[in-house]
């Protein structure tokens, strides 16, 4: 068993590969504000930032494998 904490973090990272990335919702009104439903990276916990990166890279890997 690998005892490296980084490797353990990698193996225990729960990733939902089917989830789609959130997009910003833009309202059509002239004076309406753009609302961003996804949280800003600065406000996220480090593990969430890592999960976001890993999910994005894995999605790219899977799309490359599946053609």
């Amino acid at each position: 068993m690998n005892v490296n904490p980084g490797v353990q973090a990698y193996t225990n990272l729960v990733i939902d590969e089917t989830a789609k990335p959130k997009n910003t919702i833009k309202k059509a009104g002239l004076l309406s504000r753009d609302k961003n439903t996804s949280t800003a990276t600065e406000e996220m916990e480090p593990i969430d930032v890592v999960r976001e990166y890993v999910t994005a890279i894995r999605r790219k890997r899977n799309s490359m494998k599946n053609g």
Binding site: N2, N4, G6, V49, V50, I57
Partner: protein, 177 residues
């Protein structure tokens, strides 16, 4: 010629004789957050200088976990980020290495596989158990066991037939044998 001194390594504790802040890892990190550290690593991994070396190491069979660990350890030593940020970014580094390997079509080992099967007993352990059992057995029993073992029958060896070279008749009308 005089023999070299037996111990040429650093004296234990020598690393602590440097003034505090004299080493890169004792100074404030260059990249304090996970995001900053990743913004430093990811473009570097795809740069010309590092990319080829990473693929070479993958082909040599070095696990991606070891490669990622080495990269982040080097970053800590250079004072790029702290050790905890290094550990946190390791999953991203491993995934990125896997992506680069897939993209280049290189076969690689992740390093997260479980190599040891718990149910399987190694041959070394079996040999050790046999040895300890033999030492516990009474001598008489051992002698009896030795008596039971049949002697191997000697194999009958057959000598190959010697083919004699007969002189060939050399006459014009002579038959060929």
């Amino acid at each position: 010629m005089a023999n070299p001194p037996p111990l040429q390594a650093a004296i234990p504790g020598q690393s602590m004789t440097d003034p505090v802040g004299g080493r890169p890892w004792q100074t404030p990190p260059q990249y304090a957050t996970v995001k900053d550290a990743l913004d430093f690593y990811i473009p570097r991994m795809t740069s010309d200088g590092l990319y080829e070396g990473l693929l070479d190491n993958m082909e040599l069979g070095i696990p991606l976990t070891i490669m990622a660990d080495s990269m982040q350890s080097a970053g800590v030593l250079q004072g790029k980020h702290t050790l905890d940020v290094g550990i946190l970014i390791m999953p991203v580094l491993i995934e990125m290495l896997a992506y680069l390997g897939d993209e280049a079509g290189v076969k690689y080992t992740m390093g997260t596989e479980k190599p040891i099967d718990d149910d399987k007993i190694s041959s070394t352990r079996v040999a050790l158990a046999m040895k300890s059992m033999r030492s516990k057995l009474p001598k008489a029993l051992e002698e009896k066991e030795d008596g039971i073992i049949p002697e191997e029958p000697e194999m009958m060896s057959e000598e190959p037939e010697m083919i004699e070279d007969k002189p060939q008749p050399s006459g014009l009308m002579a038959r060929k044998v």
